[in-house]
């Protein structure tokens, strides 16, 4: 069972392969994303994050999810050496760099709690994979070609992992380098990261992209992560263990 809807301002696709899947399983994921958007969207005037940015609520009265996201944002800022920072140059908090991956990972656990094992959740190009696809094989994920968006330029095979891409070829140059307070290097067009789950993949893809050319070396050093970086010359640089994901077996 599969459905695509626009949630959190982006297309979201949920495909569940388990035979007992019902429409309410699919709905639960989209409902969850709507909730996340209502709480964390900096574009919504009445979201909790907007209230925080206006100084209307004190940290003591933040929701449990908000506290968790702030703790995770601080952790990510630390492990990326400052290359991820939820505090924007304008002094406002925008944790969206980790919220999306975190929300997809939460949605994965939500489906697992419903007894489902084989599914794929994709939100705005970030993907959680669980079990196998409708053919009983590994899930097949294409990495978008940044120079010709309707095509893919790499195919990877995965199960029980997360895949996320950070880049500047859609929605403008939306990742900035917190260290230089400038937009991330335009030389690197996109960085795709495969990790143990989509939350981890997403936050490190965001940080690696912000690092520019050094980002792929950062991923190389991380145990359990592989990366595929594309520069503006159409050359891909990838980590030593990336190729294992390009084989179907």
């Amino acid at each position: 069972m599969k459905d695509s809807r626009i949630v959190m301002g982006m297309p979201v696709t949920v495909e569940v392969v388990d035979i007992q899947t019902s429409m309410s399983d699919i709905d639960s994921v989209f409902d969850y994303f709507k909730y996340v958007n209502d709480v964390f969207s900096v574009h919504k005037h009445d979201s909790e994050i907007s209230c925080i940015n206006r100084g209307e609520i004190t940290p003591q009265s933040w929701s449990a999810d908000m506290k968790e996201i702030f703790a995770l944002a601080e952790d990510t800022r630390r492990v990326t050496g400052g290359y991820f920072d939820a505090l924007r140059p304008d002094g406002l908090y925008d944790p969206s760099g980790i919220v999306k991956g975190w929300a997809i990972e939460r949605a994965k656990k939500l489906l697992q709690a419903r007894g489902l094992k084989h599914f794929c959740i994709e939100a705005g190009g970030d993907i959680a994979l669980s079990g196998s696809n409708s053919s009983g094989a590994k899930w097949i994920v294409g990495i978008r070609n940044p120079f010709k968006l309707e095509t893919i330029m790499k195919t990877i095979y995965g199960t029980d992992c997360g895949v996320a891409t950070s880049g500047n070829y859609l929605r403008g140059n939306h990742v900035y380098n917190p260290k230089t307070k400038k937009h991330a290097s335009e030389e690197v067009v996109s960085v795709t990261v495969i990790g143990p789950n989509v939350y981890e993949a997403d936050r490190f893809a965001t940080a690696a992209y912000a690092m520019g050319r050094e980002g792929i070396s950062f991923i190389e050093k991380m145990n359990g992560f592989e990366g595929y970086m594309i520069d503006n010359k159409g050359i891909a640089t990838f980590t030593s263990g990336f190729e294992q994901y390009t084989y179907i077996k």
Partner: protein
């Protein structure tokens, strides 16, 4: 990026790989056809990544291309590189991938002059019958020994390849904040035109 630019980039990589290959032949007096097995050199810890990694170069090219071009590395998972040769102190870890499906237009093409840290490399490629017939160097650095020493220390030890377009049989697409809803539709229509 338009097609010409992509081809030009590929040719530069191709040409550069050929250059590295010639260096190997010169230095080791060894015919590449004997190097059937992957012969990976482990470097000392590189400065830039801090991680000791293997360094290898796989040459891309067309099956019927110049003898200087070793083999085709298809990026399809079913067809791994048939032959791998490693270079001591190669200046970049260049894994050139040339899609076997692409057919180039005949002619002579000059690649961009590429700064490779210690000098510039520029190649010229001749295409005959849609395939690479020859790659020659218009310029390459002369101070090779010094270059090797610098390159060994300065370059990150990661693999590289030129990107190529692959098939669309996928369950999901990973991209930067993407509009994947229209992806399949758009791709399907593009493939109809390509036939």
């Amino acid at each position: 990026m338009n097609f010409k630019k992509i081809v030009a980039s590929m040719l530069v990589i191709l040409g550069f790989s050929s250059y590295a290959w010639m260096e190997k032949t010169k230095n080791q007096n060894e015919n590449s056809s004997n190097s059937k097995d992957s012969n990976t050199i482990h470097n000392a810890t590189p400065i830039s990544s801090g991680v000791p990694l293997s360094q290898e170069v796989v040459y891309g090219g067309s099956e019927t291309g110049s003898r200087r071009v070793d083999t085709v590395t298809s990026s399809t998972p079913q067809a791994p590189a048939s032959k791998k040769v490693s270079i001591v102190g190669s200046v970049t870890n260049t894994r050139s991938t040339v899609g076997t499906s692409s057919s180039y237009k005949d002619g002579t093409y000059t690649g961009d002059s590429v700064d490779v840290y210690y000098g510039n490399i520029q190649v010229q490629a001749i295409i005959r019958s849609g395939k690479i017939a020859d790659v020659s160097f218009l310029s390459y650095p002369s101070d090779r020994q010094r270059s090797l020493a610098i390159a060994n220390r300065a370059m990150p030890v990661l693999s590289q390849e030129a990107i190529t377009i692959q098939g669309s049989q996928v369950d999901a697409v990973s991209g930067a904040t993407a509009t994947s809803s229209g992806f399949r539709q758009s791709l399907a229509s593009a493939l109809v035109k390509a036939k």
